[in-house]
């Protein structure tokens, strides 16, 4: 100690002491709060469910009923699971603005915390599909692009088109594009079968197969258009339009110039 105190007036002492104090306080704090980050305690979970119930009563019960029992053309939410809520609210489909055709994807009304809360509330009503954790969504590692393509063409392309651009259903409904959708939401859509989409549970399409589908979708999304600008990846209709407008148009333009008398 006598040895150290000889340096008590050294110019480096103040900054070093400051760093030591910060490290000490920070370290003590993180050790003390280590248990709360991974799981909510049962007390926190109850708070979450209650929060969710409040949001539900305010924003959803007018259509879905005070106890989520549904109404004449509004589905009951008992048993749809947290995954359904996370998908519908997370993609902005719910709350539904325009009741005419189908729930359209739009900017979400509720943020992540509120969405988790409502999802927890609905999940508390009855068991249902859960929100997949990030460990379950590692499609890069667990999925196969080629297998995903085969599965996509077998199960998805007839509604969503060969390149996932979406397609028409009856009476004005449509299967939306699957491009630009979060992997979590793609997974949840497959598991819960929102609105017109059928359900692809884990027995008909295993979790690994679902990850393959997601991997293929992401690969198609990232794939640059070879051979030129894409014409929408919807097939011969846009190709024919371009042949008539740009192709024949350019050629007729040159033909008119060709036959004009030079000045």
């Amino acid at each position: 100690m006598k040895h150290l105190s000889r340096y008590r007036r050294h110019k480096a002492v103040a900054p070093l002491l400051l760093i030591a104090a910060l490290l000490g306080i920070g370290g003590t704090f993180s050790i003390a709060s280590a248990t709360t980050s991974a799981e909510t305690t049962s007390a926190d979970r109850t708070t979450l469910i209650e929060e969710g119930r409040q949001i539900f009563l305010k924003g959803c019960s007018s259509c879905h009923g005070l106890n989520a029992e549904g109404a004449s053309n509004v589905p009951a939410l008992v048993g749809v699971g947290a995954a359904s809520v996370d998908f519908q609210v997370g993609t902005g489909r719910m709350p539904m603005a325009d009741m005419s055709t189908q729930a359209a994807r739009k900017a979400p009304v509720y943020d992540e915390a509120e969405t988790t809360a409502v999802a927890a509330y609905i999940a508390s009503l009855a068991p249902g599909p859960e929100v997949p954790g990030s460990a379950q969504l590692n499609y890069e590692r667990d999925g196969s692009t080629a297998e995903g393509g085969e599965l996509f063409r077998n199960n998805c392309a007839m509604c969503h088109n060969f390149a996932g651009q979406g397609g028409a259903l009856t009476q004005g409904k449509y299967a939306p594009t699957v491009m630009g959708v979060e992997p979590k939401h793609i997974y949840e859509a497959m598991v819960t079968g929102p609105q017109s989409m059928p359900v692809f549970n884990d027995k008909t399409l295993t979790p690994q197969e679902k990850l393959s589908v997601i991997k293929w979708i992401k690969s198609a999304e990232a794939e640059p258009n070879l051979g030129g600008a894409s014409l929408g990846r919807v097939g011969p209709v846009t190709e024919g339009l371009l042949a008539w407008t740009l192709g024949l148009g350019l050629l007729i333009g040159v033909a008119v110039w060709l036959a004009m008398k030079a000045k």
Partner: protein, 527 residues
């Protein structure tokens, strides 16, 4: 030795063997009239050449086999996937052959432009009456070329055996199978058994690269030789008569312009092949009958067929265990058959209506043949409505409509709109004729107003040039056929019903605004 002397030696060598000097001289001095609308046929011809060249390139790598292989190429998303050798070789062309994707795309764009220009060319011929005597035969050859073109295109895009084109072949097989009595036999013979079998692609390959191109070459040669021999038609104008051709000589002007235009067509097609992705077969995946994509359509020139099939009422009749699928036969075979036969026979139908058996080398301005123009507009409307229904699912998703609404809409529209188009077009033509009369009699409206001494405002009209006036008055206005039921000797004519129909149609066909007469012009002069 000078270049001229060398050329002289070559010419002498050839002439001593075939003696073509006279013929060649006449050919090089042949005159062709110059109008941009005459280049539409050239676009078709040059596209055909481009198809031959790019197609030959593709044949060096394409494997016309339905043998099942496992993909081992460079496109990762299809790694290990089972597919036909035809599909695998098409992928190889697209990904591993340098210039392969470009040539594939040029080939497909050239095909789309080939058909589009053919339709535009057909419309020009029709609306200007270029199919009249002596060119009826050439018209029929043209309709034949159109039909063959549709088939050739369909077979061509089916060769890669991808999901979209395979779906098209499935539908074609259903049409064949639906033929009464012989349908199943023809289908089994075409496919070598059940669908899809392993023989269809190699067979259509030979049709696509040998039989149909051969037919095209033969028909196009006759088509062009007829134009050469009968000389091209020309638009009416000063100095142009039924007995001459006014234009430029083949050498040098026409050769340079036409030759240059070939490079332009090739260049534009190559441009499309470079900047616009077409038929990305790697995204469709290989064909299997258990899969289909939303928004499946044939190429545009078959879209009208698809549209007709979609709107057909669901009618089948069953008797003694036999089935007749009217829902397939009517839109798929009967209506197209009637349309194309009518189209092919039209020159004869029109000459029967008008009774006109003379040669025609001067073209009609469409407004001066109101019935024909209206009929053309009516047929075009029919095709366009059918075409729109062929893309109803894409229209629905892009314009927030329902396929059911569009389907019902086009079901009514296809009956209502064509006659409406006829009436509107005919009235439009007659109005334009009236406007022409006004131009001749009173001149062009200049938009300048002057005030007369007594306070009236009048617009100054500028008289049109004699050349313009000539064009507006030089057309023919044939009277309607006079087919009295009782002839001059008091005998009732045979075939009364046919004659009544003919007389009626002739009267309607001849309806026109009478053109300016010499008396009217004299009256104006005194004005």
């Amino acid at each position: 030795m000078t270049a001229e002397a060398k050329l002289g030696q070559v010419a002498n060598y050839v002439d001593e063997r075939v003696g073509a000097a006279g013929f060649l001289r006449k050919s090089l001095k042949k005159v062709f009239p110059d109008h941009w609308s005459f280049l539409l046929g050239e676009i078709v011809l040059y596209s055909f050449v481009i198809l031959l060249l790019s197609g030959t390139f593709l044949t060096f790598w394409y494997d016309p086999s339905m043998r099942e292989v496992v993909y081992e190429g460079s496109y990762q998303p299809l790694e290990g996937v089972k597919m036909s050798a035809a599909y695998a070789s098409s992928l190889h062309i697209s990904f591993e052959v340098r210039g392969g994707l470009l040539m594939r795309q040029i080939h497909h764009w050239a095909a789309l432009i080939f058909m589009a220009a053919m339709v535009a060319h057909l419309l020009r011929i029709f609306f200007t009456g270029a199919f009249r005597k002596p060119r009826e035969g050439n018209w029929i050859i043209g309709v034949g070329l159109l039909t063959l073109g549709i088939v050739e295109g369909f077979l061509g895009y089916s060769l890669p055996d991808d999901l979209l084109s395979g779906t098209g072949i499935r539908i074609a097989e259903a049409i064949i199978q639906a033929l009464p009595v012989v349908g199943s036999y023809i289908s089994y013979f075409a496919f070598g058994g059940v669908f899809p079998g392993e023989l269809f692609i190699p067979r259509i390959y030979i049709v696509h690269v040998l039989l149909l191109p051969g037919a095209f070459l033969a028909l196009i040669t006759v088509h062009l030789m007829l134009v050469w021999y009968q000389k091209h038609t020309q638009y009416p104008g000063p100095g142009r008569t039924e007995k001459n051709v006014v234009g430029y000589q083949l050498m040098p002007m026409y050769m340079a312009k036409a030759g240059g235009f070939f490079f332009v067509v090739f260049g534009v097609t190559a441009f499309l092949g470079a900047v616009a992705s077409i038929n990305p077969i790697w995204l469709y995946g290989p064909y299997t009958p258990a899969q289909v994509s939303a928004g499946s359509q044939p190429d545009w020139y078959m879209g009208w067929l698809d549209g007709l099939v979609r709107m057909a009422p669901p009618i089948e009749t069953y008797f003694f265990g036999y089935t007749i699928s009217w829902n397939i036969l009517i839109p798929g075979l009967i209506i197209p058959g009637i349309l194309f036969t009518g189209m092919a026979l039209y020159p004869f139908i029109e000459s029967w209506i008008t009774g006109d058996k003379r040669e025609h080398h001067l073209l009609d301005r469409p407004r001066n043949a109101p019935n024909r123009t209206a009929l053309g507009a009516m047929s075009l409307t029919f095709m366009v409505v059918a075409l729109i229904n062929g893309g109803n699912d894409l229209i629905a998703t892009h314009f927030d409509l329902s396929i059911n609404q569009i389907m019902w809409g086009t079901r009514f529209a296809i009956f209502i709109l064509p006659p409406l188009a006829f009436v509107i077009t005919k009235r439009l033509c007659l109005s334009l004729q009236r406007a022409d009369r006004e131009l001749v009699l009173h001149g062009r409206e200049t938009g300048r107003l002057i005030m007369l001494p007594h306070g009236e405002f009048v617009e100054v009209h500028e008289p049109i040039s004699p050349e313009q006036a000539f064009i507006l008055t030089s057309h023919e206005q044939l009277p309607a056929l006079d087919l009295p039921e009782i002839d001059a000797r008091g005998v009732k004519r045979a075939g009364a019903l046919k004659n009544k129909l003919r007389a009626r149609m002739s009267k309607s066909h001849a309806e026109s605004i009478p053109k300016v007469t010499t008396e009217e012009l004299k009256a104006i002069e005194h004005h």
